[in-house]
Structures are given as structure tokens and as C-alpha cells.
Symmetry: C2
Subunit: 217 residues, 2 copies
């Protein structure tokens, strides 16, 4: 199988928002409650930040344990990397993820304000001022035959969807409305002209949306 | 996470049969139609025997692509390895899977009639006359820190369930009755005293049953 460009485990509200208004260090999801977006994954046995035993091994766990499966690089927007905007005031901020970020691959951060690459644990962050096409070419090369994950946030996923560069996309829709913030879609039906879509309700209350591009088959 | 003992992608009829009566080289599932058991997986992009592009990337594909994820060894019964019974008449039969079996790990075949190990492609078959406990100890050691898959058939899965050696089990239940053959259960409810259970219907018509042992969490 050729290298794929995949969105995985991207959580949004029932009205299509991936983050609320007013994102900050203290509130990475703005006015939204992070639990609405994260708790389905946090309850699974393979949750990437789990430190204790336990957790579920059902549908939601299949999805969390697929997050890194055959992934060789990630592309993320600057808003996922951190809350600063504009020119970097300092380089001390090295992301939300501590000394061992869960990516364990090259990560390409899209920003108009480039800064030097750095390595934390098994993850190296590179900063690119590039089009989606050019960033993807870099990531596909770095992934060494494996797939590239588009990690978000909303603006980055939208940019890659608009450029028609996404092959497969998993979106977990929470049973909560958000009302305002960064919006992925008004309805998933907006994508069915280009993508096959399966909607699978989970016992956790999330509805998993699996998209794959009609050009794949 | 410690090494797990997993049953994956084990398909049965709605009345609990994993194979029909009268298994042979020509009819590996006996009187049952193999399509009832296999077509849900065969339709997915990551089906292990797929040679053409295409296939779905929805729920069923998450399950097929998890089949080898972190698996380091398989244990199977002699009836899965082949249709011969009793003492081996010859060693020419090397399984159903051709020159490159999909396992790509050590495979331990449980039989009262041991024969020499052999290697095909990336898979080595070993033949053991051993209890489930002893076979599992061998497989866990060979898996080198990864998990062990209990590959079937029905009698082998039952044997490991009866010895309470299974940690997680995925059973795909087809919307077809079989009436007779090798039976895994009368009802999945027989297992809920020991296992958590999620039942997730798929667009393919299968109902995926995800079990995980209550001792895990």
C-alpha cells in the first residue's frame, strides 16, 4: 500500500467545533471542557498518556492504539504546538507534552515564524513556513515509507482538506454542543462527495466518523 | 503494558459456530460458506491477502489492521493448520497459506502428533504436544515482549478460555445461522462473568464482540 495521509482521533463537538474560544496555556481548548474531547480516549487501555494499568479494550481502544500504527511523521499547526501567536518571544516553550512527547517521529509545525528544530525524547520538532503541498512532501520523505498523520488543529485539518491532500480521516464527535470556537464543519455531509463515510456510535457516547477518499478504491 | 494473550478476528455464525461439519482440503469450513466468515475482512483495505488496491478503511479495517499489531507469536490448533487427522502421512502439507504465510512470527501448532519445525517466508511453524499453559509459556517467550495471538480454531479457543488464559478476545458474529459444526458458545453471555463485553454492529452486517478480562482493570 502506498503512503497515506491520515487524520486520527480528531475530536469535535456535535456542532462541529474542535476547540472553543480563548485558547491559552491554562485553557488549551478555550471555553470548551477538555474532558468532552479527551475522556473517551483517556478511558482506554492504550491511551498514550496512561501511566496506570487498567482501561477499556473495546472499540475506543482499537482507535487509540491505531494512532501511532504505521505513522512515520506528523504535521501540526502552530496552534496545536502552543498558545503563543506572532513572533516567538522566547524558545523556552517546547510544547504541551513534557520531556517525552508521544509522537516519537519527526513532527513538522506549520508557522509563519520559523525557529530552530529541537529534539525531546524520541521526537524532533521542525518548524516550516510552507504550503500544505510542500510540508507534506517533507513529511512523506521523513516518514521513510510509513504514513503521515495530520495532527490538527482545526485550521490545519481544514487547510489539508481544502487542498484535497487527506486520504483517511477519523473524527470522534462528542455528544455536546459548543456553540462557538474553531469549526471543522457544519455537517459531515459536506465531505461525502469526496469521501466514503461510516458513522459508528461507541458506548462512550462518541460517534466515530471514518472517512476515506473515493480516489483510494 | 504486560504481554497479553489475544484472540483476534475470530468469526462465527449467529448461533455460535466457527466452522461447519465435514472440514476437508476442498471445504476448510465444512458445510459452511467461507464467505459468511471471511468476506467482512476480505472487503477491507488491510486484508492480509489483498493483492489489489482498494478496500474499505472503516470500522472493519481498523480491526483487520490490528490483527498483527504488537503480536509476537501465534498458537493454533492442528485443525486450523490443516485438514489431516491422526499420525502425519507425509510432511508435504505445509498449511493453507502458500510460500509466504501471513503470520510472520513463530507459530505453535498444538497436536498430539509432533513433527519437525519448518520455516516458510517469515513464519516458522513449531509442533507441540503440550498443555495450554506450557504452550503459552513457550509462545510468550518466543514473542519477545510482544503479545500472543490464539489463532483458533474453535476447540483451541475453547481450551484457552476454559483454562482462563485469554486476556482480550474479538469475535465477529455473522448474520447467518449454521445449525451444526464446531461451536464456540450458545450465547456470548456465558462469558460476561469473567469478561467485559462491547457489542458493536458494523455496516458489513457483522456484530463485533470485544471482550476483555475483568482482571485487567
Amino acid at each position: 500500500m502506498r503512503q497515506l495521509v491520515r487524520v486520527q482521533n480528531f475530536s469535535i463537538s456535535s456542532d462541529g467545533y474542535g476547540a472553543g474560544e480563548g485558547q491559552s496555556v491554562e485553557r488549551p481548548f478555550g471555553h470548551a471542557d477538555p474532558a468532552d474531547f479527551m475522556s473517551w480516549a483517556g478511558a482506554t487501555a492504550h491511551w498514550v498518556n496512561r501511566t496506570d494499568p487498567g482501561g477499556s479494550f473495546g472499540l475506543d481502544d482499537y482507535i487509540t492504539r491505531d494512532w501511532a500504527n504505521n505513522i512515520g511523521a506528523e504535521i501540526m499547526g502552530r496552534n496545536k504546538f502552543g498558545p503563543q501567536r506572532g513572533p516567538w518571544e522566547d524558545y523556552d516553550w517546547q510544547g504541551w507534552w513534557g520531556d517525552e512527547p508521544p509522537f516519537r517521529t519527526p513532527v513538522f509545525v506549520l508557522t509563519h515564524h520559523v525557529r530552530p528544530s529541537f529534539t525531546l525524547g524520541d521526537t524532533t520538532f521542525h518548524f516550516l513556513d510552507a504550503s500544505p503541498e510542500d510540508a507534506l512532501a517533507r513529511a512523506l520523505s521523513a516518514a521513510d515509507g510509513r504514513d503521515v498523520r495530520i495532527g490538527g488543529g482545526v485550521a490545519t485539518v481544514r487547510e489539508f482538506l481544502d487542498a484535497d491532500l487527506i486520504d483517511t480521516m477519523h473524527v470522534a464527535v462528542a455528544p455536546t454542543e459548543l456553540g462557538r470556537g474553531e469549526r471543522l464543519w457544519t455537517s459531515p455531509d459536506e465531505l461525502v462527495d469526496r469521501f466514503h463515510l461510516e458513522q459508528i456510535p461507541s458506548p462512550s457516547g462518541m460517534v466515530h466518523h471514518f472517512f476515506w477518499h473515493r480516489g483510494l478504491s
